[in-house]
């Protein structure tokens, strides 16, 4: 299974662990990641806040490059995935838009390369059986809360993946690798996203609610498929603890890290040490490491 791999900016900076853990498990799962040459930033939240055409043209250029490779795009980062999917949807829906955006991007875009999130590829193309086979029983008894956030499964018409209100894809990954997916209430509640710097108070409040819900459901740790969610739930956890006078101590992992742990990949290759809330002790105590 070969894909045009779009890492995006964060996977080379603040979400380095996501990239390293993805690349660590890709080969074992049969995922061939062919990085798009000369890919550019997808525009993330800045572009669509400024200018609609810009927000489509930036990801569209990447789509054009992928089309030249003749491959579908896989994007681990939820925001990159969402923006690329938006662009693909716009281009496929309206020919006039496709022409205009192609002109701005400097390359013709047809939208024939599908855009998939890494989670989608793991769940749909790799599949639960292959995951279970690759996994050992190391994660038995580990209770994991699947946190989807906003961009993976919404808007349904654009991302065309899982259910926007009661999604199950990430939960199925947890179950497939032998851990226990807890049933909890805040799976798709917003973490505060880009307000992390501008309105940290809001993010701290939202993060507190999410983590409190995860804790109440009995989770040992939370997994996510989005660098922003990971950053917020992780780096603002201590602030949320102070604000709410509750202790969470919930490591926030990327789902690729969880899969890696299940497969017995060296934890150092999964970059677990980069997280703010350290999960090492917990994982040792649960005999995962």
């Amino acid at each position: 299974m070969r894909y045009a791999y779009y890492p995006g900016c964060t996977l080379h900076s603040s979400a380095k662990e996501y990239r390293l853990s993805t690349e660590a498990i890709a080969e074992r799962l049969g995922i061939d990641l062919a990085e798009i040459p000369d890919w550019n930033c997808c525009g993330a939240s800045s572009a669509h806040a400024l200018n609609h055409d810009l927000s489509l043209a930036l990801p569209a250029r990447n789509l054009a490059l992928a089309e030249e490779m003749g491959l579908d795009v896989v994007a681990p980062c939820a925001a990159c995935f969402n923006r690329l999917a938006y662009a693909q949807h716009a281009v496929v829906t309206d020919k006039a838009t496709a022409a205009r955006i192609g002109q701005i991007a400097g390359r013709p875009v047809t939208g024939e390369s599908r855009v998939r999130s890494l989670l989608d590829v793991v769940v749909s193309d790799v599949g639960a059986e292959a995951l279970a086979e690759a996994a050992s029983n190391k994660l038995e008894g580990l209770k994991v809360a699947a946190y989807y956030g906003c961009l993976l499964v919404r808007p349904p018409k654009v991302v065309d993946f899982d259910d926007p209100e009661q999604p199950t894809s990430l939960d199925s990954v947890i179950e497939a690798v032998g851990a226990e997916a807890v049933d909890w209430s805040h799976k798709t509640e917003c973490c505060g996203a880009g307000l992390a710097v501008g309105r940290t108070d809001i993010v701290v409040k939202l993060v507190g609610e999410i983590l409190a819900a995860a804790k109440e459901a009995g989770a040992d740790l939370v997994i996510t498929a989005c660098p922003m969610c990971q950053a917020n739930l992780d780096t603002r956890q201590r602030a949320a603890e102070s604000a709410s006078s509750e202790t969470f101590n919930l490591p926030i992992l990327y789902f690729t890290q969880l899969i890696g742990l299940a497969m017995g990949v060296d934890p150092r290759r999964l970059s677990l040490q980069s997280h703010t809330v350290d999960g090492w002790d917990l994982l040792v105590s649960k005999k995962v490491i």
Partner: protein
């Protein structure tokens, strides 16, 4: 000899104020075969009509052209006028000098006058080729079929039967009563629903002129107005309706168990069961999917204990065909599938229920004996959240329309909650409150003022479970604040939607339906209970969401309209139907699939070719079904199809008059 009279109408100043009528009259007098021209201020008035009659007699006219308003206004009037003096009404043509001329060209009187002359010339050319047409008649079978045994069907059937007609009511379920039987109290009077419905149900069952086919469905409808041949499937109830006394011993002993559909799955029933205690007919039915005898060949306890030997395990479905003059469709509605709103957790959280499910909990004959209890743990709820507009007024996830009755029934639920559970609190999340009927606004005010219902303007974003409670996260838009209610139960006012088989029913009947599968009325304003298919009428929620008073009114209206039809011994048919020229018809039958009314069929004719008698296929048009749309005349390659009153020759004459 063609003797055409042209009557030009000023229509007050409507036409005459723009079109130079005297000029048109001058031109008309010179048109071929025109022997008489007259102007009139109001031709449709009595003196105007008298003038036409007088002119026909005095000038021996055999064709008439009236230049006036749209034929939709007065064609029928003028036809009657001329018919009254023995003139064939189809030797008359109308030139529309108003809607097609003066009204749309009011700013250009000169050109309007030129156009008026053209319009008259066209009509004169056409009428020159008119042939006298004669209406024929079809008989009317004085029997009505009512499809659906809810309050709409029951009311329509009773009214029709009381006016002296024979009625057959076909109901799909084992009992009549429909949705109304499932309700507890009805707004705005808070009458007990069963108490006002069951007397009507019994009246229907006992009415000498009504035959009730319950547990039956209509499979096929052939024929046309006055003569519908309907095939009805009487499903195998497994219990003899004539012998059964309704004693109930069979279901008290039955070991089988299934979810009770009448209680929307909130309670159980047996394999042999009666949907609710006041069922009509009070005869049980066996659910063959659950019954141990049908599934495994064992048990048969019901047969053993039945004192009258009414159990008939071997009774299969029966197909019967009967003829009816009129059909009333009253097939009702169902609730919107609220799983579509994943954020509300319907289907996931047991204590999130729909409005109809709440009715069953409140109803004394329901699964909890009328006690409002949480389905999850049977506890008495204190805080109950009601969410309105679930599935309605939502193009993205549901239906665009407003479901009409939910605002009232939610207010009712808030009142019933307060009456049944002292100390309880109702929270109603709303977008609007639409309580527009008689005594309705007062009823809603009562819910808030006398029963303490808290109305919060805003939508609910999400419901999740925490500590056994349902956390309802919403918004109070009037305060501009987020609201979280710790609820014990959530009731969704799920929209009224068409039943899943509504499209099939419509197609079987041959009536139209809209994008929401509600049956289409003939005219939204002026013909709410008729359809575009002659002889088929509509009553109740199958036509669109509505409450009980409206349903009953519509049902009586449908009965009245059907009664008009059935009060005639025969019906006149419009003579403007297709005539098939069998000399030209090649028998290709391309016309058959084109006809929207199914009026064309193949028929074998015998004709002499040389010395032989040969048989061949040609098209035949059923004049009673033919609506004169003319689509087949376009499809016909040989020009064998001609529409009487709009023949190919007449149309070509119009074109020539106008263009050449």
């Amino acid at each position: 000899m063609k003797r055409i009279g042209v009557f030009l109408c000023w229509c007050g100043s409507n036409i005459g104020g723009v079109v130079d009528i005297p000029k048109v009259a001058e031109a008309a007098a010179k048109m071929p075969n025109v022997v008489y021209v007259e102007e009139n201020k109001y031709t449709c008035s009595e003196p105007g009509q008298e003038a036409i009659k007088k002119a026909i007699k005095e000038h021996n006219l055999n064709r008439v052209v009236v230049g006036a308003c749209s034929p939709r206004m007065h064609e029928t009037t003028f036809r009657r006028t001329v018919e009254s003096v023995g003139f064939n009404p189809y030797m008359l043509e109308i030139a529309n000098l108003r809607e097609h001329c003066s009204w749309v060209h009011a700013g250009n009187p000169e050109k309007a006058t030129v156009k008026a002359v053209d319009l008259v010339r066209t009509a004169v050319a056409k009428v020159g080729l008119n042939a006298p047409l004669h209406r024929s008649t079809i008989p009317v079978e004085k029997r009505a079929l009512v499809l659906g045994g809810g309050i709409a069907g029951i009311q329509a059937a009773l009214d029709l039967a009381d006016s002296g007609h024979d009625v057959v009511l076909v109901e799909k379920e084992p009992t009549i009563g429909g949705r109304m039987a499932q309700l507890d109290k009805t707004f705005p009077t808070l009458d007990c629903s069963a108490c006002i419905l069951t007397p009507k149900m019994v009246d229907l069952a006992q009415h000498p002129k009504i035959t009730l086919y319950s547990y039956s469905e209509v499979e096929k409808v052939d024929g046309y107005v006055g003569n519908f041949d309907v095939t009805i499937r009487r499903k195998g109830r497994s219990v003899n309706e004539d012998k059964c006394t309704g004693c109930g011993i069979c279901y008290s002993k039955c070991p089988g168990k299934a979810k009770n559909e009448f209680d929307l799955g909130l309670g159980d029933r047996k394999a042999i069961y009666v949907p609710f205690p006041q069922a009509v007919p009070n005869v049980p039915v066996i659910d063959r999917d659950v019954c141990l005898y049908y599934q495994k060949g064992i048990c048969k306890v019901c047969e053993k204990v039945c004192p009258t030997g009414s159990i008939e395990f071997d009774k299969e479905d029966e197909l019967i065909t009967e003829r009816f003059g009129a059909i009333v469709a009253a097939t009702g509605f169902q609730q919107f599938q609220s799983e579509a709103y994943g954020e509300y957790g319907y289907g996931k959280y047991k204590d999130v229920i729909t409005g109809l499910e709440f009715e069953r909990l409140v109803n004394a004959s329901g699964p909890t004996g009328g006690k409002i209890k949480r389905p999850s743990d049977g506890e008495i709820p204190k805080n109950v959240v009601f969410i309105k507009c679930v599935g309605s007024r939502d193009e993205a996830k549901g239906k665009a329309y407003c479901s009409k009755a939910c605002c009232m029934y939610t207010a009712k639920h808030a009142i019933l909650l307060d009456e049944k559970i002292p100390g309880s609190q109702a929270f109603v999340f709303y977008m609007d409150v639409r309580t527009a009927g008689k005594d309705y606004e007062e009823f809603y005010q009562r819910a808030t003022e006398q029963h303490g219902a808290q109305y919060i303007r805003g939508r609910v974003a999400r419901i999740y479970e925490k500590g056994g409670k349902l956390m309802v996260v919403g918004e109070d838009t009037l305060l501009g604040e987020k609201v979280i209610v710790e609820a014990d139960m959530v009731v969704l006012a799920a929209a009224m939607v068409a039943r899943p088989d509504a499209g099939n029913v419509a197609r079987t009947l041959g009536i139209s339906y809209n994008q929401d599968s509600f049956f289409t009325e003939a005219h939204a304003k002026l013909r709410p209970v008729e359809t575009n298919t002659a002889g088929i009428f509509l009553a109740g929620a199958c036509q669109g969401p509505k409450d009980i008073p409206e349903t009953v009114a519509q049902a009586s209206a449908a009965a009245a309209k059907a009664g008009i039809l059935l009060s005639r011994d025969e019906l006149e048919t419009d003579p403007m139907t297709i005539e098939v020229n069998t000399d030209l018809c090649s028998g290709c039958l391309w016309c058959k699939p084109i006809c929207p009314y199914g009026a064309i069929d193949a028929v074998e004719i015998e004709e002499r070719v040389g010395r032989e008698m040969r048989k061949r296929q040609v098209a035949q048009v059923n004049a009673s079904l033919c609506q004169g749309c003319g689509a087949c005349t376009v499809a016909c390659r040989d020009g064998a199809m001609n529409l009487k009153g709009y023949t190919n020759e007449q149309i070509l004459a119009e074109v020539e008059a106008l263009c050449l």
